[in-house]
């Protein structure tokens, strides 16, 4: 039992960077923009957040810097795809390449450095009063660090925003049918810019969690493909922030299962375990594509630039 709770609690920690990135991409795709630069924006957030943490020692400043860096990356994509109506796939891929190079360049001097103690202390796990004492669930979900709680909160807030507010309804319309939204006097470009940037900021946060809390030190290419898993998780979650919680923690579990198995007597090839997240991603994508329903379909306007006077 002890083993299970500690595994699940660790899965949530490992899933938290995925969660932020997935939520960021969900909000971006809901605005009709497919940003494949998640990996790049995570890396930008990771390196800038880490650098800021080193310089100031302030966790708040570090997080703000990470969000800003992610949003900055997203702004490149936004200008290209929204204002200039460039191809979204190509722009997103370019952003990933740019972000990878950017983090390598900025992080060259940082390799091997460890996050300052003030930040480590700030993100130390603590038990939430009341909730932390629930048997089993309390141990898994509510004995975590502040960043993990922030993840729960972000998912719930985004869920309420999307499904219960007017702005959320407008956003869904923008992603589904920009022509209809435009005719309903919604400012398409404003919505797209705001949500693409917001999505980038969330991806930046996901990266910062890796460098400041999860590792917590700087290493080259610290995201190791998590940004791509987040892109697949968006489909797995059918663009729903609540389902993103489940998906992210599931993949967090797959990520750490290798270490855990090493401690037991079970003999499994390390290579097989390393392959698991990607194998499951493929299986999930196949399954999601098989069940065709309007409810789970991607936003219809996804990937299509909007130009009002187009005939």
């Amino acid at each position: 039992m002890e083993l299970v709770t500690s595994f699940l609690a660790a899965a949530i920690v490992a899933g938290t960077p995925l969660l932020f990135a997935t939520l960021g991409e969900i909000i971006t795709e809901r605005a009709g923009n497919l940003n494949l630069g998640v990996e790049g924006m995570m890396l930008m957030g990771a390196v800038i957040g880490f650098q800021m943490g080193l310089v100031t020692g302030s966790p708040i400043m570090a997080l703000l810097a990470a969000m800003l860096a992610g949003a900055l990356g997203a702004s490149i994509f936004a200008v290209l795809t929204i204002s200039l109506r460039a191809n979204q796939v190509v722009s997103g891929l370019a952003l990933t390449i740019f972000g990878t190079g950017f983090s390598g360049f900025v992080g060259k001097e940082l390799v091997g450095q460890v996050a300052p103690d003030s930040i480590k202390m700030f993100f130390k796990p603590f038990s939430l009063p009341g909730l932390g004492n629930i048997p089993f669930l309390g141990k898994v979900f509510f004995n975590q660090d502040l960043f993990v709680y922030l993840g729960y909160l972000t998912a719930v807030i985004l869920g309420i925003y999307l499904y219960k507010t007017r702005k959320g309804l407008n956003l869904r319309a923008v992603g589904e049918n920009p022509g209809a939204a435009d005719a309903a006097s919604i400012n398409i470009n404003l919505y797209k810019y705001v949500h693409v940037l917001l999505g980038g900021a969330l991806c930046g946060l996901g990266g910062a969690y890796l460098s400041l809390v999860y590792v917590p030190a700087w290493q080259e290419n610290i995201t190791a493909g998590r940004g791509w898993i987040a892109v697949a998780l968006v489909i797995f979650a059918t663009w729903n922030p609540y389902k993103a919680l489940f998906g992210s923690y599931l993949f967090g579990g797959l990520d750490i299962i290798g270490f855990r198995i090493q401690g037991t007597d079970i003999q499994v090839s390390q290579y097989f375990i390393d392959m698991l997240p990607y194998l499951v991603t493929i299986i999930v994508l196949v399954m999601v594509s098989l069940r065709k329903s309007k409810r789970n379909a991607p936003p219809r306007g996804l990937g299509v630039p909007y130009f009002r006077e187009e005939r």
Binding site: K164, T165, R166, K167, L169, N170, R172, A173, E176, N177, G179, A180, A181, D182, A183, A184, S185, I186, N187, K294, R295, A297, R300, R308, E309, R311
Partner: protein, 510 residues
């Protein structure tokens, strides 16, 4: 009250690249008036209205509402000025419910306060007698329901000026009648209604005033009382037009196509064609009438090899086509052109020019690795001249052409392959009278050559006027085949609803 000039558009000009869509257009509409905008395809009706609704910005000219000049830079400005437009292609978000579509973009509070708004929507519904199920998702709605929702949406937003862009093009006669009731109701409430159409009988039925556009220019504004369809058609086309449809005598006697006991199932395993039997002779036009979705599309596609056949035979000159692929069937001399509801979509590539679209079919006759553009180029010029297609040039992407011109390109290409069997579905869908007649003439020309023609259309008047025999489909079954000369609209209407005619003349006679 009726003397207030509610809207006036003065000297409006708009160009798209090289295409001049509107040139110095003038239009004024009063309160409590239903004003029809009449014109051929590509006359600039939709463009003009898109400028009034803020979607396009005019290159020059001014718009006045109640005497004050307005400048719309987005649909938002136009909505605020009380203008609501029902577009030809509905502006609805499919995955949302009716109510969500209505409150979209409204600015009242942060959260969706569904109850309070619902009462307001229902009030508007009562006032205009609009029946819409507010909790239904748009993708589950019929076209008529969607249209009602669109109208409710703009009325809820306080529209006083309603623009309907070819609202009846996709409606059944019953739905059209309902729409007219709503339009009259709006007129009573003091709204101005602008109605774009090219169906003469509808324009004569519903409108008070009619403005005729031709090739992007205003021809004349007339009172309905003081005009007649003949005059309107002349204004629209620019020269006198004979409105009667010619019917040539039947040419051959040999049956080109024999369909025996044809059964077809759709993807869900439901039988959509339930054992069809009919013959089609050379030099004959056999029309298919039926309510939309009675199996017309499946029949066309089954013959063309695009739809799997469950059982039965399709004999073309004695050879069974079942199991052959479309390419083989085309090579045997069968041609199919299907105009879907959204006009583009089947058969043509919007981003390509006329030459390349012709080449799509023409290149298959060519030998060698490289494609020779010359024959297609000369064909393109020929088709443009023969069918009078309005385009800046043969190398212009066809998406910039108006719907009618796109249809002409498709039909022109299909006729060019010199088929022995021509299947043409909805070739005049959404076309104006003059173009319709051009297409009827084309079909008659083919008939005179001895081509067997299977013709599917919605307009019963043209079916009766043009064809030799009419086959009525209802729910995948043939309810009767009648001689067009003796048929009446009422009789066909009943058969469309499923009433079988026992002794039908001309059926199965070879």
């Amino acid at each position: 009250m009726n003397n207030v000039k509610y809207i006036s558009m003065v000297n409006i000009t708009k160009t798209f690249g090289k295409v001049i869509a509107n040139k110095n257009i003038n239009l004024s509409v009063n309160k409590g008036e239903i004003h029809a905008l009449l014109g051929e395809n590509g006359a600039g009706k939709s463009t003009l209205m898109n400028m009034l609704s803020g979607i396009y910005i005019p290159d020059s000219g001014s718009i006045f509402i109640e005497g004050e000049e307005v400048k719309f830079s987005s649909p938002k400005d136009s909505i605020q000025a009380g203008i609501g437009m029902i577009h030809q292609h509905f502006k609805l978000v499919e995955v949302l419910t009716a109510q969500e579509n209505i409150i979209l973009g409204q600015k009242t509070g942060f959260f969706l306060n569904k109850k309070a708004i619902r009462e307001k929507i229902e009030e508007v519904q009562r006032k205009f007698q609009l029946e819409v199920d507010l909790d239904k998702k748009v993708y589950e709605m019929s076209v008529g329901e969607k249209q009602n929702l669109e109208i409710l949406k703009v009325l809820f937003r306080g529209a006083k000026i309603l623009i309907l862009d070819e609202p009846t093009a996709v409606l059944t006669p019953q739905e059209t009648a309902k729409l007219f009731i709503i339009m009259r109701k709006m007129k009573e409430e003091g709204c101005a209604v602008i109605f774009i159409s090219h169906k003469m009988n509808e324009v004569m039925e519903i409108s008070d005033k009619i403005t005729v556009l031709r090739k992007g220019e205003t021809v004349k504004t007339v009172d309905k009382e003081k005009t007649n369809p003949q005059e309107l058609t002349e204004l629209m086309v620019g020269y006198p037009v004979d409105l009667s449809i010619k019917r040539l005598e039947k040419q051959g006697r040999k049956a080109v196509l024999r369909v025996r006991n044809l059964r077809v199932e759709n993807e869900e395993g439901i039988e959509v064609l339930k054992g069809l039997n009919f013959d089609l002779r050379a030099g004959e036009i056999l029309s298919i009438a039926g309510i939309a979705g009675s199996g017309q599309k499946e029949l066309c596609e089954a013959i063309a090899g695009l739809y799997p056949v469950k059982s039965g035979e399709i004999l073309f000159k004695g050879e069974n086509l079942v199991g052959k692929n479309p390419k083989e069937i085309i090579a045997k001399g069968v041609s199919m052109s299907f105009i879907p509801e959204d006009r583009l979509g089947m058969g043509l590539v919007a981003a390509m020019d006329i030459v390349d679209n012709i080449l799509l079919k023409q290149y298959q006759k060519q030998k060698g690795f490289l494609v020779n553009r010359k024959p297609a180029t000369s064909k393109a010029k020929e088709i443009i001249k023969k069918l009078d297609i309005q385009t800046p040039g043969i190398y212009h992407p066809i998406r910039d052409l108006s719907g009618g011109n796109i249809q002409k390109v498709l039909l022109g290409r299909e006729l060019d392959t010199n088929p022995e069997l021509l299947i043409t579905a909805y070739p005049v869908r959404g076309l104006d009278i003059n173009t319709c007649h051009k297409i009827y003439d084309l079909l008659n020309e083919e008939k005179a050559k001895g081509v067997a023609i299977l013709y599917i259309a919605e307009d019963l008047d043209s079916l009766i006027g043009l064809s030799d025999r009419i086959m009525v489909l209802s729910n995948g079954e043939i309810t009767g085949i009648v001689e067009a000369r003796k048929a009446t609209k009422e009789q066909i209407g009943l058969m469309m609803l499923g009433e079988k005619i026992n002794e039908t003349e001309g059926a199965y006679v070879v």
